[in-house]
Amino acid sequence: MEKFTTLTAIAAPLPLANVDTDKIIPARFLKTIRRSGLGVHLFDTLRYDENGAERPDFVLNQAPYRQAQILIAHENFGCGSSREHAPWALLDFGIRAVIAPDFADIFYNNCFKNGILPIRLPRAVCDALIEDARQGDNARLTIDLAREVVVRPNGEEIAFEIDPFRKHLLLHGLDDIGQTMAHAGAIDAFERNRAAVQPWLPKTTLA
């Protein structure tokens, strides 16, 4: 996983609430066995018409926002399915951070596993950042994860909060399986105890 430290980039405004994961990446594109290559299908139905041509009014089809690495949206971003294809598609397009008032739980969690930083900020702040983002090429936001701030084009700093453990993994690009493997002894002990206390828990290997 690529680490996330600071990012200065173009932000794309997407002032929609309840952007579901089917909207981020429709199910017909989930038939892949790889993580990469989904960026071209990101927001497929919003981005392309029935004939596959770009819709010029969609933000990511407009000149400065094709290079966007930050996305700003409204409430409940990423609701619906657990598909990690949603953050994979965002990442493959180039998005490294999503700012919204709140996120659906599974999507929020999935972002961290892929080096994407989801930032929760109040709706009014999101709307102010969306106004910044509408300035296109002239308005770049800076995100400093170590300091937990978003810096607006006018220099104003906006603080956000993030779990210390998730921040640590993201700052250092750490694989959390490797972290958990360090607790193998505790898992072994837990399993031995569980087998002793609840020996009736069925095994899938025995019909």
Partner: protein, 468 residues
């Protein structure tokens, strides 16, 4: 930990392997259900890191999303779908994970077969790379959907790194009127609290109307907890649960079963335990429900009408509703019971159990599907199909003009040949009415199996109580 605890607290506490300084917990996972769509990259990750599956005996795999629901003896025609299923088959063979093959009668939708086989049990933790894992909470298990990176984490370590969710109680008090089903109850709940109403919470469903539901109904309710944004849904296990589990293929037997029930009886929430949030609904006021928008929270009683966006004070919501009506091809004030439909889909992890098929057949018996309507009935598993056929339900349905299909996710999500064409309108027993969910440009109305069967007969959305 002392003091009164909720059902969620008890299951959580019993599965904490270690607590990290910031409160993140290493949570032990008892059961891992694996399907073909969200697992290939996880197995690839294990392979790349030289890791093995820690406990194959805690894991079960099945293909459901991509499988055609017509004759499967000739395999899967669509190359990408076939590759995904073949990749699962290679992975389970390489890593030693138990698997129900596509032609095995135990194959079916992952959330139907876990409970059906007795693999989903009270007091356990259950995960799957699928948001509708919340279904298994109906048995009193802490069950939730995870992404592919977490699938890999569970395969490698049998644990997950998790922050404890908050406790939410949704009490459905009183008795549901005749003709109001579990699907109507859960749609009414989502309509009340919204699709983000449960975010950050595990919802425990309580109250007389929940207790009165059979296990199929309880699974329908918990299945859609995720549509309310909840991390998981839970219903306290009781004699209905224990009777249902007893005798299932993998369930404990004899003295083991008795020991398990003794433990399971300790799980329900203690008197006086605190919930962070409580919401109450009166079951008596819940009518058969149908969605009119492109979010499950956009729902109304079948006796109602399409809302007028002009009546919405919040400009952002007004724009959202207007956008939904354009997509759905509906006009404000239009009566819901007059909306014509093209397709009926009865099935999915929400409503693909034998009880759901019985409800549809009870409406279909002696009637005919309206001209121009395509109506599919897709059993949730091979065993549901077998049971329905033993009861003669397939004949009742096919004589009425319904298609009787092979088990799978089918038209719930447009990953297999069953999908809507642009502009087609479906009455669907599935769980999501998002834009394009059932196929690009497809329009979805969510409702119960009885309501779906009645719509098939009428050719338009209709109050199923008129068919009783």
């Amino acid at each position: 930990m002392s003091g009164p605890r909720t059902l969620f607290d008890k299951i959580w506490d019993a599965h904490v392997v270690e607590r990290l300084p910031d409160g993140t917990c290493l949570l032990y996972i008892d059961r891992h259900l694996v399907h073909e769509v969200t697992s290939p990259q996880a197995f690839e990750g294990l392979r790349a890191a030289g890791r093995r599956v820690r406990r194959p005996e805690a894991t079960i795999a099945v293909a459901d999303h991509n499988v055609p629901t017509s004759d499967r003896s000739r395999g899967i025609a669509e190359p990408e779908s076939r590759l995904q299923v073949e990749t699962l088959e290679q992975n389970v063979a390489e890593f030693g994970v138990p698997y129900f093959p596509v032609l095995d009668e135990r194959q079916g939708i992952v959330h139907i077969i876990g409970p059906e086989q007795g693999l989903s049990l009270p007091g356990t933790t259950i995960v799957c790379g699928d948001s509708h894992t919340s279904t298994h909470g109906a048995l009193g298990a802490l069950a939730f959907g995870i992404g592919t990176s977490e699938v890999e984490h569970v395969l490698a370590t049998e644990t997950l790194l998790q922050k404890r969710a908050k406790n939410m109680r949704i009490e459905v008090a009183g008795q549901a009127p005749a003709g109001t089903t579990a699907k109507d109850i859960v749609l009414a709940i989502i309509g009340k609290i919204g699709t983000a109403g449960g975010t950050g919470h595990v919802i425990e469903f309580t109250g007389d109307a929940i207790r009165a539901l059979d296990m199929a109904g309880r699974m329908t309710v918990c299945n859609m907890a995720i549509e309310a944004g909840a991390r998981a849904g839970l219903i306290a296990p009781d004699d209905t649960t224990f009777d249902w589990i007893k005798g299932r293929p993998y369930a404990p037997e004899g003295a083991d079963f008795e020991a398990a029930v003794r433990y399971w009886r300790t799980l329900p929430t203690d008197p006086g335990a605190a919930y962070d949030r409580t919401v109450t609904l009166d079951a008596a006021t819940i009518a058969p429900m149908v969605t009119w928008g492109t979010s499950p929270e956009r729902v109304a009683p079948i006796t109602g009408a399409v809302p007028d966006p002009a009546a919405e004070p919040d400009p952002a919501k007004r724009a959202e509703i207007a956008r939904m009506l354009t997509y759905m091809g509906l006009t404000p004030g239009q009566k819901l019971a007059e909306i014509p439909i093209d397709v009926v889909f009865i099935g999915s992890c929400t409503n693909g159990r034998i009880e759901d098929i019985r409800a549809a057949a009870a409406i279909a018996r002696g009637r005919r599907v309206a001209a121009g309507v395509r109506a599919l009935v897709v059993p949730g598993s091979g065993l549901v199909k077998k049971q329905a056929e033993a009861e003669g339900l397939d004949r009742i349905l096919t004589e009425a003009g319904f298609e009787w299909r092979e088990p799978g996710c089918s038209m719930c999500l447009g990953m297999n040949p069953d999908k809507l064409s642009p502009g087609q309108r479906a009455a669907s027993t599935s769980n999501r009415n998002f834009e394009g969910r059932q196929g690009p440009g497809g329009r979805t109305h969510l409702l119960s199996p009885a309501m779906a069967a009645a719509a098939a007969i009428a050719g338009h959305l209709v109050d199923a109580r008129e068919f009783a």
